[in-house]
């Protein structure tokens, strides 16, 4: 298996803050893909085909093939089209785009310019998670560098292609990571997701055809153009092309961002992170907080790609791997996640607005010794009534953790209900790893 890195290659976290500039990126071979396309006059449909061949799938969580998405932009459309990048990284456990943006912002810019060329767009926006302000500032600086070098603007590198790119910051709303919520937010509104169809390819930003991809997806494009889609596919495994950034958090020795080829066995990644910090591995959430949790034995048999994780009953999602050891009370862990979804539901759809509150309150009462024998059935029924009944995926994202935690760790929930206390003895729940929900934010049960 290849160990090649294409997103963070040659970037050291210790010096990365100094080597993000345009000159450094060009030294690493940056903007060669854009130059190749413009100097050789490669037809836009060939660019899309190359991305299709690479089997590059959306890195934000949904895993939708990027080339297919670009191909959906109506060719005959008269009027502006837009390119939007989703750097609104707010799913608990996900912090991969942060490293990409701080160490390699120009690769994102180059990918977006190429996408603009491929679909005939002259303007793009990168929506950046407002909590990490330095990323927004750095991206604006990188844009200034690109403009000054003639890589953005009119007649790029002497060609007839024009493209402008801007940074837009979020200000604290998880739901804006949903692509149509994000578009609403750029339009200066509440970030409430839209009904689909129409999809953004037909009706996106300002009602115009729009390509919207994750940061990591755009950043993979220059390499694909230079090396070819087939080479990219070979880096990973069939139907799961390329490398992927994994954000590893929780009870490992070295939490952080790791770039490995798709299909890497999970134990290999765990070893790269220095293994477990203290205790024995208990459970892993493999794809961000909305992905179903998997017990240690199932996870240790998985390879890290969309298909393997799906087969195990979870999702690769954004590649956010949350590692938990045996000191974790799964009821408490779920309580904290359920609170998050309750807090972040945008309130637009009744099943999600009301349902996330129900989920949180019921898990809360189980955790606090007030659970009733019928509560597990009740949780199941509430998730049934949320899933598939909301405009966006936030409803499912709230329901899936509840489903998986109560399925794989049912005995802990039953123990809590019967004995009014935790199966994991308090002395095992290590100091510094307690999970907590503010009592005064709790609506009554």
């Amino acid at each position: 298996m290849s160990t090649q890195q294409i997103l963070l290659a040659g970037l050291d976290p210790n010096t990365g803050d100094q080597t993000w500039h345009l000159a450094d990126y060009v030294k690493r071979g940056g903007y060669a893909a854009l130059k190749k396309i413009l100097s050789e006059n490669i037809p836009p449909e060939n660019v899309i085909n190359e991305v299709k061949k690479s089997a590059l799938r959306g890195r934000g969580g949904a895993g939708f093939p990027a080339g297919l998405k670009w191909g959906f932009i109506p060719k005959a459309y008269q009027g502006p089209r837009y390119i939007c990048c989703n750097t609104d990284e707010g799913e608990p456990g996900t912090f991969k785009d942060r490293d990409l943006m701080r160490f390699n912002p120009h690769q994102v810019i180059e990918g977006m310019i190429i996408a603009g060329y491929a679909v005939g767009s002259e303007r793009g926006y990168n929506y950046i998670h407002g909590e990490v302000w330095s990323l927004y500032k750095r991206f604006e600086e990188a844009l200034d560098e690109a403009r000054a070098a003639g890589l953005l603007g009119q007649k790029i590198l002497g060609s007839n292609f024009n493209f402008e790119l801007f940074a837009h910051h979020g200000y604290g709303a998880y739901v804006c990571g949903e692509e149509t919520g994000l578009l609403e937010s750029i339009e200066g509104k509440k970030g409430q997701p839209r009904y689909k169809p129409p999809f953004p390819a037909n009706y996106g930003l300002y009602g115009r055809p729009t390509v919207i991809n994750n940061t990591e997806t755009f950043a993979a494009v220059p390499w694909i153009i230079i090396n070819g889609g087939e080479k990219y596919l070979e880096l990973g495994k069939p139907n799961n092309g390329g490398t992927k950034l994994f954000s590893v958090s929780g009870h490992v020795v070295k939490p952080g961002v790791y770039e490995v080829p798709m299909g890497t066995p999970f134990p290999v990644l765990l070893e790269m992170c220095g293994g477990m910090r203290n205790g024995k591995l208990k459970a892993v959430i493999p794809g961000g907080s909305s992905a179903p949790v998997l017990p240690a034995d199932i996870m240790m048999d998985c390879t890290l790609d969309y298909d393997s994780i799906a087969k195990a009953g979870s999702m690769l999602g954004s590649g956010a791997v949350i590692v938990m050891d045996e000191s974790v009370c799964m009821v408490k862990a779920l309580e904290r996640l359920s609170y998050f979804y309750f807090e972040e539901s945008c309130g637009q759809c009744t099943p999600c607005r009301e349902g996330t509150g129900w989920l949180y309150r019921v898990v809360h009462r189980i955790e606090h010794g007030l659970g009733k024998p019928e509560d597990l059935d009740l949780l199941n029924s509430v998730t049934d009534n949320i899933m598939g009944r909301t405009i966006c995926a936030l409803g499912d994202a709230a329901a899936l953790p509840v489903r998986s935690f109560t399925k794989h760790f049912k005995s802990e929930f039953e123990y809590h209900i019967e004995n009014k206390k935790c199966l994991v003895p308090p002395e095992v729940q290590r100091e510094g790893s307690r999970i907590y929900v503010t009592p005064n934010r709790v609506p009554s049960c």
């Binding site: 940074a167 998050f340 972040e344 307690r434 999970i435 929900v437």
Partner: protein, 158 residues
């Protein structure tokens, strides 16, 4: 009501969007207004709305939807601590408890001297650096062990 300097910065934001889409700048404009005023009073929001040619209610909707806008006065320093699961696994809650005890306030409260407001944050998107916190929405503090917190508080107080 907003300073010339802030309006100039807002103009820079407006220029990013198509001429007929000034409203797109509302998030940045509200953030800039908050930076100047410390928090967003209704008059401030209305002022931003007027400048962008949108209904005050539309700007108010935005200000109330995104949780980094402060709709009530906060202390000189707003400290937002992430306590979500990935952070909690690496001491996020411990940090929050330590801050509460050091400052003598609970979440959503301000110290009597008006220096610090403590907030519980949802995911800041830097779980690998846990425990993490934000100072005034801008300054991200990583790996906040208790001694780091002591240092930070001493620095902010000086």
């Amino acid at each position: 009501m907003l300073s010339q300097e802030t309006l100039k910065k807002i103009d820079r934001e407006i220029a990013k969007y198509p001429a007929d889409q000034k409203q797109s700048a509302v998030m940045a404009a509200l953030a800039l207004a908050q930076e100047e005023k410390g928090w967003l009073a209704q008059e401030t929001i209305a002022c931003v709305a007027e400048y962008l040619g949108m209904a005050p209610m539309a700007a108010y909707e935005v200000a109330t939807f995104y949780n980094m806008y402060d709709l009530a006065p906060v202390g000189k320093y707003k400290l937002t601590v992430c306590t979500n699961l990935p952070c909690a696994l690496s001491g996020g809650v411990h940090v929050a408890d330590y801050l509460k005890q050091k400052l003598g306030v609970d979440f959503n409260e301000t110290t009597a001297d008006g220096m610090f407001t403590l907030k519980e944050g949802e995911c800041l998107g830097v779980c690998g650096d846990a425990p993490v916190m934000l100072v005034n929405n801008r300054r991200l503090c990583s790996y906040m062990a208790t001694e780091e917190i002591d240092k930070l508080l001493a620095e902010l107080k000086s």
